[in-house]
Symmetry: C2
Subunit: 339 residues, 2 copies
């Protein structure tokens, strides 16, 4: 990956940082409370770097390992305590991860002499009850169980799939995010100067009933797709998708594998259509980056947690820019926008 | 209880409604998800009445039964999934109860033709690590266990007490709330016109470390005392403490038992000092009401969920007014302030 120039951003720009699961667990993927606090502390240091640069920052986060733990608790305590639905598990993780992120951000800000207030918002995301995900659930969640245990859960209305030697695993809908319903609260807090945590786990999925009221549904919304939507709704100019890889790769797992640096969204779409990105991992990140830029965002960056500041400066990661026909607009925001 | 006149409030006044546990569980005290949604729906109808009256509304809520359930899950799944500390359980309930309250409020508002936005905020409450509660924990939480099981938990550092025939029960600190740290976010959202849910379960208890950073602690903050503090911090004029009783009673459980109506805070303090209010139930509500009025609030109302609107209008509940020497101030806010 070679950079042909600085790709700086306006200090006062609004930036959404989407933290992946690795920002919330230890290197071995465990999610003990101490692991989570330590991992979130490292992520908060990089967020503080971005805030120190002058950006208005909004943070979303994943919650996969945490929800997995809650589902096991549901299952093992079901004889004594009523299990809670999957949407409640998501809400629970917004509480805990929001809580530890608030503490970690304040600590990191203090360490850099920054005086910024923080807030975490319970966030619901509207999905369509007619989304095909509900009729053909495919997102695996929770732990593997033997066939007999899975059968019990199937009798309780859940969908489980035979995954071979590892056992059976529950699958749920992963519907498209339609609207982040609590975006107005996020925007209000950003306008007051808060660094805001919102949209955890893609938001708590809800559907609108015929009478207009909202009801939680058992589903998992892709957190990066929800972040792209939330970023658009609150007028973020830059979306940073932070995970454990430095950049999106083409020809992944082959001898010709190479990371993508600066790239226009139409070109990235062509790579995606050619099947370069795995559906369960890089695929949704690339899709989210494309959607964000196509909906008017200036730039989306896919990079690793430690490279967030470098990614924002255009010196690391895959940086997705608007298609060439919007050159005039792009030129105003980037010093060098030609590859 | 006889009323000698209307005790109306300014429509644009900022009101904090503290919902008790009965607003979150079914009549039999159960906390299945469906029970919680139904109970919160009823509470939201009364909140909508207050909003319809023109007040700016902030809502706090209890979380006792919900935390109790989470502790059982922690315990029963401990061999498979790392247990989370008590402060995390509180954070989890802020997520779930915040979530269902948001949905219920929007539904109730729509039913009354109200167009108001809602938001739920993850809320931390600072406590003093030197609070005597930490050396002499006394607040019982979670379920009773046999002596042998309790001993295992004691070996893990918890404090459990022998409660006789029912078994052993864990006790934790119930420290004084010192500051509701996320009050600025609440105030910002109220200023934007949001109806805000915050301070659930008294807030997530945190202590400040010598380096200035915050750390969660295993404790339970009285939700009404925290509400009185939060109300003061965000400039609420009226605090409504809603539970399952219509008013505070003197000479409770005797033939002379009678409900208190309108009362000045100094007089109420004398009843409290004389031991009229039980320490585990009405005592903290009376203390919270007194503190709120003594810290500059115009009025605190102790009443049942269904009587919130009537209590605000001065037609139900125990209405606590400032001491007589602040008469001038009170007179401006109440039409009839003499008993």
């Amino acid at each position: 990956m070679r950079w042909r120039g600085d790709l700086s951003y306006s200090p006062s720009v609004r930036v959404l940082v989407a933290l992946g699961g690795n920002a919330m667990t230890s290197a071995d993927g465990r999610a003990r409370p101490g692991d989570q606090i330590a991992a979130v502390g490292r992520a908060a240091e990089r967020i503080a770097d971005v805030v120190a640069g002058g950006a208005e920052v909004l943070i979303t986060h994943g919650n996969g390992p945490q929800v997995g733990n809650l589902l096991v608790k549901n299952e093992l305590a079901a004889a004594v305590v009523p299990p809670v639905p999957l949407d409640w598990c998501g809400a629970q993780t917004q509480g805990t991860i929001g809580f530890i992120l608030l503490n970690a951000l304040e600590r990191a800000f203090a360490g850099q002499g920054l005086r910024r207030q923080v807030a975490a918002v319970v966030t619901r995301t509207l999905v369509d009850p007619a989304d095909p995900g509900f009729t053909r659930p495919s997102k695996p969640i929770g732990r593997y169980l033997p066939a007999a245990d899975a059968r019990t859960m199937i009798e309780h209305g859940q969908v489980w799939q035979d995954r071979g030697a590892k056992g059976w695993r529950r699958v749920v809908a992963s519907p498209e995010p339609v609207e982040v319903l609590d975006a107005p609260a996020v925007a209000a807090l950003l306008a007051w100067g808060f660094v805001v945590v919102a949209g955890g786990g893609g938001g708590i999925p809800v559907v609108r009933e015929p009478d207009g009221s909202l009801r939680g549904v058992e589903a998992v919304i892709d957190k990066d797709l929800a972040a792209a939507l939330l970023g658009h709704e609150v007028g973020a100019r830059v979306l940073v998708i932070a995970s454990d890889v430095d950049a999106a790769m083409v020809d992944f797992d082959t001898e010709r594998a190479r990371p993508l640096g600066r790239i226009r969204v139409d070109e990235l779409r062509r790579y995606a259509a050619a099947g370069h990105f795995a559906s369960g991992s890089m695929g949704p990140k690339v899709e989210a980056a494309c959607r964000f830029v196509e909906s008017g965002g200036d730039r989306a960056v896919i990079t690793s947690l430690d490279r967030i500041p470098a990614g924002l400066a255009g010196a690391a990661g895959t940086v997705v820019l608007p298609a060439a026909r919007t050159r005039t607009r792009t030129a105003a925001l980037t010093r060098t926008d030609e590859r």
